[in-house]
Point group: none
Chain length 204, copies 4
């Protein structure tokens, strides 16, 4: 019985994989907004009604597909953490992030342009904000003045990161390396625009 179900599940999963792959290809080719369900099913060699057996709409498929990308990111960060002797910090994280973006450059370039998806961008803001608050802020928290919510600073960092990525992909055409980008991100978050203060210089 279980085997029977599994066979079907595997078939189901295969169809979903085809749909996810099709979406990802199409996002790069024509932009997220311009895609419609028919495009996706055609590319996936799947009947259009079948799409609705698995996903409610294009956006549900998108967020479902993101799992794969995020799995890649999580693995990458896990690596840096392990390599960094388990101490996860702003520096390592950024490094992994920018490498991850470089890995999926075409995807992010589209999604962070006017051919992308609002829901994705907003999601990214919130996801990164949470990440920053959990992982990057704690070491700094004691020093923050009382009236300043740490979430606000996390929002700043998340925004800065996204702004930086958008610039990197769409203006800078990825001429800077992921490491350079991570360093800029790092420095900006550490000391804002005051790069001249020798006492603030980081060794990395």
């Amino acid at each position: 019985m279980t085997d029977m179900i599994r066979k079907e599940d595997r078939r189901k999963e295969r169809t979903r994989q085809l749909l996810r792959d099709a979406l990802m290809e199409l996002i790069v080719e024509k932009g997220y907004e311009a895609i419609n369900v028919n495009d996706i099913t055609e590319r996936a060699n799947v009947a259009r009604p079948t799409f609705y057996l698995h996903y409610k709409d294009k956006q549900e498929l998108l967020f479902n597909s993101l799992r794969e990308i995020y799995d890649d990111l999580a693995a990458r960060e896990m690596d840096t953490i392990v390599a960094g002797l388990n101490q996860r910090n702003l520096d390592d994280m950024s490094d992994a992030d920018f490498q991850h973006v470089a890995q999926h450059a075409a995807f992010y370039r589209t999604m962070l342009s006017d051919r992308g998806s609002v829901a994705f961008i907003i999601q990214m803001f919130r996801y990164l904000r949470g990440l920053m608050q959990t992982h990057a802020l704690p070491p700094f928290q004691p020093d923050l003045p009382a009236g300043v919510p740490s979430a606000a600073l996390a929002a700043c960092m998340a925004g800065a990161q996204i702004g930086l990525v958008e610039w990197w992909l769409n203006e800078n055409n990825m001429q800077a390396t992921p490491q350079e980008m991570a360093r800029i991100m790092h420095m900006f978050c550490l000391m804002g625009l005051n790069w001249d203060d020798p006492s603030q210089k980081v060794s990395s």
Copy 2:
């Protein structure tokens, strides 16, 4: 001659104003993405084909409508500049910006959510990036290390600003005042997360 033309233009302008007002109302009510042309023309008491006499699509109307909002912003910034004895700097600018957002809170709350518009958000990134580079960065530029493009820092600042606004509107529910927000923005850009350094304290 000019007078002759104006009569028709005034009529045209009136219709456009109706359309712009309708859009702005509807954005707040049901979100930008959910609006269709029929909604707009119905609200504006205008025939649907008339819409296309003036604007190519919903997005063109949106960007055209933004002019009004931006005029408000420009005026506001001009005020602060004048009040600030003509020295336009990061501090004043941010203050004006956050007041401007507060003024149009409902609009920005929607547009910076998943019911908003990608094109608008991306535009905002680029507009703010340009603004930052032109107006906020110059005083700091001499101190920047050679390898770091100033545009990247502008991108950080623009992103931080947007991230902050998104947080303020959608998480913080505008419990912080525009002044407090501007101060956070200011401090973050000046010295990142190192708020404890007494030498960096700003008097404002």
Copy 3:
């Protein structure tokens, strides 16, 4: 295989039947020219875009619908031919024609008025002309003078028939019986206006 296809075809055919019926009803009610696609689909309880799945436009639907009417006519003529011992002649044909018109009086009354369709009327001219040339003229052909194309006489007969029908429906209000009309048609074609010639009298 054939059975599989038939299920879909049956559904399709049902929709088409609904559209045809709706058109026929509406022609009688408001005239052909005044009908628009929306009227038809509304009456047929079918979505407007569905119309275009089956027919290019109103006229294609009309000509497609005519098949049914013409099937009726063909059957009727077949009957008279059989009854007439297989000798199809002008007399029998006209009889069947006028009975057919009587059967679909409301339809023809509209279509042969200024609320009708040019294309239909012209089609009728040409169809009848062909019919006359094939079936009615041959017995008379040997006697025709050399310079007179038989097609011209067929055109005369076709025109006369249509003119007669138009008069019967719209002026005479069908007070004459189909048989009387057929006799007039018959006599006119046989001997024009010279009804007094006893040698030409027909027994029918």
Copy 4:
């Protein structure tokens, strides 16, 4: 006063003439049904709203324009009547008619095709039916049997005439002369298909 009005009327009349000419040109060029008011006013170098100052719609303009053509026809028939020593009969009339059609061949070719106008064709039927009843039938009337309405025969003749013209223009490509056509019409109405009867031969 009268003179004042006339000047304006002349201007008005000029505009109307331009519109009529434009319509007539366009009918030949693209068919009556395909014409829209804009086409007409553009061709006439007149503003579109001006059209409605003079005519309710395309059809009113058409029927108004026909006056010119019919004036030509009336004149032509008057000529034949005068030439024929005042005895207007079927023969002369037909002759004039076919010459008239030849004169306006392009117009009639279009109007008696599926690019024409129902209203015009129906009008033609009725007009010719009246004409036939008034001018062509009387000499034959005494001989008609009681049960046969003379109007029915007029309808036959009118129809035959139209059928013949349609054939002449659209099938025969006007290879027959107007005189030949008139003779066919004449003969057909006089003795139907029995052209062999020597006693019926006409001298003309």
